[in-house]
């Protein structure tokens, strides 16, 4: 192990400060007694209590959670199927194009994704609201799931599927009993990733939602324009907590499955 030099410690402190100081400030001020956001007047949880009586914010939170759950689930199914198609059927026409296109939304500016969806919904006369919002979220989170699942499938030992079929399992049974359980951790971490991405999206949601379907990030953004209240700090703190837990779970799972996979691969190849 390398020794901690003064330089190392210093750069670490500055790095983390740069990343997390604003967030830490926000969390601290969410427990502020005072109504003034920048003046500390003692510890209090009253803003959290008030938060739960703010009907507007609670409605927005409920919309956000519903959208996130539905879109993450749909995106996981679609993303897993896409990953399977790309890694398994290596000989179909336009595979390169397809696998390139699935990654495009990862790097596409959100404004463009949002705007193009808005244009699509307007063009086909789809009234904007909860469902357009959900569809848009499925679209942009699906590619993240595909990437996560695909990287797992790349190292998947296909002979266990052949073994299952050899033992009499139909392709469907093989997928349900062998493939899916083995890749399940990757699928689940894809789902968690999709969920957190959907929870905190602002740009695409602004383009694609309609009346009665305001998400929490949209609500916060519009309220902040009228001035930051400690209530907003409180709701943000909760959001940060949820997202942090989600990301943590996803990364722990993927790290554990990585270790498991290496173990299993060693298992498969003897020593």
């Amino acid at each position: 192990m390398q020794r901690w030099s003064r330089f190392n410690i210093l750069s670490l402190v500055f790095g983390f400060a740069f990343l997390y100081l604003p967030i830490v400030l926000l969390v601290i001020f969410s427990f502020n007694e005072s109504k003034l956001v920048t003046v500390w007047a003692g510890f209090s949880t009253k803003w959290y209590v008030q938060l739960f009586h703010n009907q507007g914010l609670m409605d927005a939170a409920w919309v956000t959670i519903r959208v996130a759950l539905i879109s993450a689930t749909c995106a996981t199914v679609l993303g897993t199927l896409a990953a399977l198609a790309i890694t398994r059927y290596t000989r179909f026409r336009g595979r390169m194009l397809f696998s390139g296109m699935i990654y495009a939304p990862l790097v596409m500016p959100e404004v463009i994704t949002g705007l193009s969806m808005l244009l699509l919904f307007v063009a086909i006369g789809f009234d904007r609201g909860f469902w357009t919002l959900t569809l848009a979220h499925i679209t942009f989170t699906m590619c993240f799931v595909a990437v996560v699942v695909q990287s797992r499938l790349m190292s998947f030992d296909r002979s266990i599927e052949e073994a299952a079929m050899d033992l009499g399992a139909t392709p469907v049974t093989t997928f349900m009993k062998i493939t899916l359980p083995v890749i399940a951790p990757a699928v689940f971490s894809g789902w968690v990733l999709a969920l957190t991405l959907s929870l905190d999206d602002l740009v695409i949601s602004s383009f694609t939602s309609g009346p009665g379907a305001t998400t929490l990030p949209m609500k916060i953004y519009s309220q902040v324009r009228l001035g930051v209240t400690p209530e907003i700090n409180a709701v943000c703190t909760i959001l940060i907590g949820i997202v942090a837990v989600g990301v943590l779970i996803a990364s722990i799972i993927s790290r554990r499955t990585e270790a498991q996979r290496i173990k299993d691969e060693q298992a498969a190849f003897g020593h």
Partner: protein, 380 residues
């Protein structure tokens, strides 16, 4: 109880015209793009036979096995199992099971669930499954490991789980893809004999793919030597070793000295060959090539004798040379003898006694000689 050997010696359905093959490859060709993996191959395998496909990697032996299992479809030709064509039958409907080279154990299932998997697919009642799984685990001596996951087992134990899983359904044919490849030498030798006993006990037909000639020689009733997608020779291990039909087989199986020459006379089952290096060879041969034809003479090192005095048969089947190299292997010693023309001949002798009075040493002038039935004539 009869020993295995006596059963095996009397088992030879391939030489009985009345016996029907169990598996037939008929003019089977498999192409991957432009690459011809299996080239117009025909082959018969008989019931209860232990059949080995032997060849270097890329010779098409694994492709042949995978076609039998149903993972690959032949580009042309037909595979017949027990009188029925397998064309269009998916892997999960074939009465064959395979033991994979990588074992392909299901990592998320316990040993007993791995073994039970195939039985569950058949919809066997639960009690029967449990009974069969117990029986299989007892057979491979893994009763104590039933609840473990594959990653908690050693390489040898995993191999046994794979074996138990592949025979649990009592398939008509068991396919084994390099079954002992991942085991160390000692374990491999033990397992070879266990596999042979198991095959006799269950009365199954085994088709094993291997690149290890010793493994094939030990276990198989018959061996098919393959190269470039074709079968070069199909015969019993002694036939393959003692009567190779071609230069390739002679060279591929074991060690061999091949002398090139011209046939000078053919007389009463004996062939005379004058080699390019000036050796006069008289060999008993069922094959009678034409006089004046080019021919090769193949003789195994253990059939060449080395001594310091001139043998009685000289100048026939004998030559003079000097000891060039000596390899002491414990059970035997390999001599590299350099003949007058510079050619090096390999000869080996068994170390049947612990010390020799007058050991042959480096640079010593020696004679090498061999019997009239020591080698075979290879026609090219």
């Amino acid at each position: 109880m009869k020993s295995l050997g006596s059963i095996r010696r009397s088992f030879a359905p391939w030489s009985d015209p009345a016996s029907k093959p169990f598996i037939s490859f008929r003019n089977v060709t498999k192409k991957f793009g432009d690459f011809v993996a299996v080239d117009n191959l025909s082959l018969d395998i008989f019931p209860r036979e232990f059949f080995a496909l032997l060849g270097a990697s890329g010779c098409g032996k694994s492709t042949l096995l995978r076609m039998l299992a149903g993972f690959e479809q032949p580009t042309s030709g037909e595979i017949i199992l027990d009188g029925q064509s397998l064309a269009g039958t998916p892997p999960y409907k074939r009465p064959v099971n395979m033991m994979f080279q990588s074992y392909a154990l299901f990592p998320h299932m316990t040993v007993e669930n791995n073994v039970a998997f195939g039985l569950k697919q058949d919809g066997m009642p639960k009690a029967e499954i449990a009974e069969r799984v117990d029986q299989m685990l007892k057979l491979v001596k893994l009763e104590k490991f039933a609840k473990r996951k594959p990653h908690q087992l050693s390489g040898g134990q995993r191999q046994r789980v794979a074996l138990a899983r592949s025979i649990a359904k009592r398939p008509k044919v068991l396919l084994l893809d390099e079954p002992l490849g991942a085991l160390d030498k000692k374990l491999r030798e033990e397992t070879q004999f266990e596999l042979m006993d198991l095959q006799q006990e269950l009365g199954l037909t085994f088709v094993v793919v291997t690149h290890d000639q010793e493994e094939a020689m030990t276990m198989a009733d018959r061996i098919a030597v393959m190269a470039h997608g074709k079968v070069i020779q199909v015969a019993t291990p002694p036939e393959i070793y003692e009567a190779p039909n071609s230069r390739f087989v002679a060279d591929f199986i074991g060690d061999v000295n091949i002398f090139d020459g011209t046939v000078s006379s053919v007389d009463g089952g004996f062939v005379r060959i004058e080699t390019e290096s000036g050796l006069s060879i008289k060999v008993a041969s069922p094959e009678t090539p034409a006089v004046g034809a080019k021919a090769g003479f193949a003789v195994r090192p253990e059939k060449i004798r080395v001594g310091s005095s001139q043998p009685a048969c000289a100048p026939l089947n004998a030559a003079q040379g000097v000891i060039w190299d000596i390899g002491y292997l414990g059970d035997m010693t390999v001599f590299h003898v350099k003949l007058r023309d510079g050619r090096v001949v390999k000869a080996s002798s068994l170390n049947a006694v612990r010390s020799v009075e007058d050991p042959i040493g480096y640079d010593q002038e020696v004679w090498i000689w061999f019997d009239e039935n020591a080698g075979v004539v290879l026609r090219d």
